[in-house]
């Protein structure tokens, strides 16, 4: 596809463009891909602090994330989503970034709880004031820690967001 | 219908490649691999003769050769391990150098 240059493409919205004539294919394909992605969000097993416990509860029998097709993967290479569950310290931040970097596209970040969203209680020398300082956070879930149901609700928000995506699968985007 | 000479030539070529590798490679492990190649060339000969002579003796012999090749590999690689442990190398020329 290297021969196509920018001008041949049809621009749909900012930053999203397609090969002309492909739109008949693109629309349904887009919907199918988004459906697949929203239906199988695999977060990487990465608990940071208190929220990790509630994250585990969300995966346990009472709430059962598996219902949504969400299973935890230990390796970031197979994960789609990083749940920042807990306080991000400055010592930890590079590690988190590295784990995020090692995830394949498309990847999403959920900031769960006050600490991951904004540092929360810990406005100190050692704590990063919010995961969005160095990561593109997709969904913010307030609470300290949020109830497991709140995490599920956050994941549903993420599913909605995924379903509205346009062509995040194309090489040309 | 494949003439038996095709098999013989193939096994000859294989044997010579094995020999060449054995003579040129410095890594003892690869040298052993080359020996395996040569053994395989011989096996191929045996099986081909056996087939063309309608006699199973060659195949039985091949069978035993494979079993013995297993033993050979075990011992040979054991020697490699011992060499490596003592000399910290698996290269034939370095093993020579370090003899003294």
């Amino acid at each position: 596809m290297g021969q196509l240059n920018e001008n041949d493409l049809v621009k749909i919205k900012d930053g999203v463009s397609f090969i002309p004539g492909a739109s008949a294919l693109v629309g349904p394909l887009n919907r199918i891909i988004n459906w697949g992605r929203a239906g199988s969000i695999w977060p990487v097993t990465f608990g940071l602090a208190c929220c990790a416990i509630e994250m585990m509860v969300a995966g346990s029998s009472t709430n059962d994330l598996d219902r949504f097709g969400i299973i935890f993967r230990a390796s970031p290479r197979q994960a789609d989503c990083l749940i920042l569950a807990g306080t991000i310290t400055k010592k930890m931040a590079p590690v988190i970034r590295r784990v995020y970097d090692q995830m394949p596209e498309p990847r999403y970040v959920l900031a769960m709880g006050s600490c991951a969203c904004s540092g929360g209680l810990f406005d100190t020398y050692a704590v990063v004031q919010g995961g969005d300082n160095f990561l593109p956070v997709d969904v913010y879930i307030p609470g300290c820690p949020p109830r497991p149901e709140a995490l599920i609700e956050g994941l549903i928000t993420l599913q909605k967001k995924i379903n509205q995506e346009q062509g995040r699968w194309s090489q040309l985007v | 219908m494949i003439p038996v000479s095709w098999y013989l030539s193939l096994s000859g070529i294989l044997f010579c490649i094995g020999l060449y590798g054995f003579l040129t490679r410095r890594n003892v492990i690869v040298m052993f691999l080359c020996i395996e190649l040569m053994l395989n060339a011989a096996n191929l000969n045996f099986v081909a003769f056996s087939h063309y002579l309608s006699d199973l003796r060659g195949q039985v012999l091949t069978f035993f050769i494979i079993a013995v090749a297993a033993a050979e590999a075990a011992i040979g690689l054991g020697i490699v391990m011992a060499l490596y442990r003592n000399k910290q190398t698996v290269y034939s020329d370095e093993i020579n150098e370090l003899k003294g």
Partner: protein
């Protein structure tokens, strides 16, 4: 006729092999057209629990693996002899049993030796 024998029952296997490989290659190749590929340095760094990789991972292993492999080879060869033996056992009867008994006993000596030498223990 020697030299013109074609083992035709193996043909499906060959075809399935080709199918299997082709399936793998095709899936990956077609997927390549649709995937987002944005490799960059940090993404391609080896995974090590979120730490920067510290050293070359290819290093030596415990020699135990080697002794296990030797035992494996010997038993594999033994099994290879057992298969034809098992098939012709009915025909040969007690003689074959004795024959194999001696064979296995000989190999078991090596097995017991390895056991006694502690090559089957992993936690030292």
């Amino acid at each position: 006729m020697p030299g013109s024998y074609l083992p035709s029952e193996y043909l499906p296997i060959l075809m399935l092999l080709v199918t299997g490989i082709a399936f793998g290659v095709l899936v990956l190749w077609i997927g390549k057209l649709f995937r987002v590929q944005r490799p960059y340095f940090e993404k391609l760094v080896a995974y090590e629990s979120g730490n920067p990789p510290t050293e070359e991972p290819r290093m030596r292993f415990s020699v135990k693996f080697y002794t296990i492999a030797i035992l494996f080879i010997v038993f594999d060869v033994e099994a290879i002899f057992l298969y034809p033996w098992a098939l012709v056992f009915n025909k040969l009867g007690l003689f074959a049993l004795l024959e194999m008994f001696i064979f296995i006993i000989l190999l078991l000596i090596g097995y017991v030796y390895a056991w006694k030498k502690g090559n089957l223990e992993w936690d030292n």
